[in-house]
């Protein structure tokens, strides 16, 4: 089995806030990430698929098609947007790096072209902070 990873980038703003908590509780839990004016990041998304090499093409997956799926399902929705205000799943879910990884998985699940299977989604919020989700 081969693992193949495709990388994409998007720039988005967000804030961390739990509506069930007071302002003090939110600030205590999230620090300056609780600023309701928002802040932002250049996110890096890595989508890893697993499969066998097709003997005819030498490919695990058609990379152009994978790129198009990532662009359509994730990047075009998240890029240059405010995650809390403009991405439906983050109306009820705090757009932490962990939750973004889960949201991206759910958007890509079942849409990987050919026989390859979605193996891992990794989201970097910054170069020294990332979250992995394996679909568990």
């Amino acid at each position: 089995m081969i693992l193949l990873t495709r990388r994409a980038e998007f720039s988005a703003s967000h804030y961390y806030w739990n509506e069930a908590w007071s302002a003090e509780e939110n600030t205590r839990a999230f620090g300056k990430c609780a600023n309701r004016n928002g802040h932002g990041h250049n996110y890096t998304l890595e989508v890893t698929v697993a499969g066998e090499i097709d003997p005819a093409t030498g490919f695990v997956v058609d990379l152009k098609q994978l790129k198009d799926v990532m662009e359509r399902e994730v990047v075009s929705v998240f890029d240059h947007r405010h995650l809390n205000l403009e991405v439906p799943e983050f109306r009820a879910m705090i757009p932490t790096t962990e939750n973004i990884a889960v949201a991206v998985w759910r958007r890509l699940q079942g849409k990987i072209p050919g026989k390859a299977k979605l193996h891992r989604v990794r989201v970097y919020e910054m170069e020294n902070l990332f979250a992995d989700y394996y679909g568990d």
Partner: protein
């Protein structure tokens, strides 16, 4: 063997060197000019004009230059440089929406205007003629430098 002539600097016992330091901050912004129509803003700024803003991990690079101090071996006290940059730049801008800040009330918070504002703040806080270069990276593909 190649002989490198440092000229007058080394004969006078001086050596000029440059110290660079990088800082990181995360902020959001929206590029939008109030005097333009929605269509004009969209034409000029593209998706950077999206109404709710977007964000970046900015890298701010500050280069200072001067003579190497004979006792310390340093061009400038790094702790003092860090303190000034954190106080004047990182703390006011990090985890903020740039459009809500007073310094961007009348200018669009493009990274061009951001690098100018950062240099202005640091030149007020640090000794004269110390700063050689300020550079701000907005993404891995875009960076902006200001040397007046």
């Amino acid at each position: 063997m190649e002989v490198v002539d440092f000229g007058d600097a080394i004969r006078d016992g001086e050596m000029r060197a440059y110290l660079g330091r990088r800082y990181r901050l995360s902020a959001s912004h929206r590029l939008f000019c109030a005097s333009l129509s929605e269509a004009e803003n969209r034409s000029v700024y593209g998706k950077c004009a999206n109404p709710h803003g977007h964000g970046h991990n900015y890298t701010v690079e500050v280069v200072v230059g001067g003579e190497i101090d004979r006792e310390t071996g340093m061009v400038f006290d790094l702790g003092r440089l860090d303190g000034s940059v954190c106080r004047e730049v990182v703390e006011p801008f990090d985890h903020q929406n740039l459009n809500t800040l007073e310094c961007f009330r009348d200018v669009v918070p493009t990274t061009e205007n951001l690098v100018i504002e950062i240099r202005r703040r640091l030149e007020k806080a640090l000794p004269q003629r110390l700063i050689v270069q300020v550079r701000v990276e907005e993404t891995s593909n875009n960076f902006f430098e200001y040397s007046p």
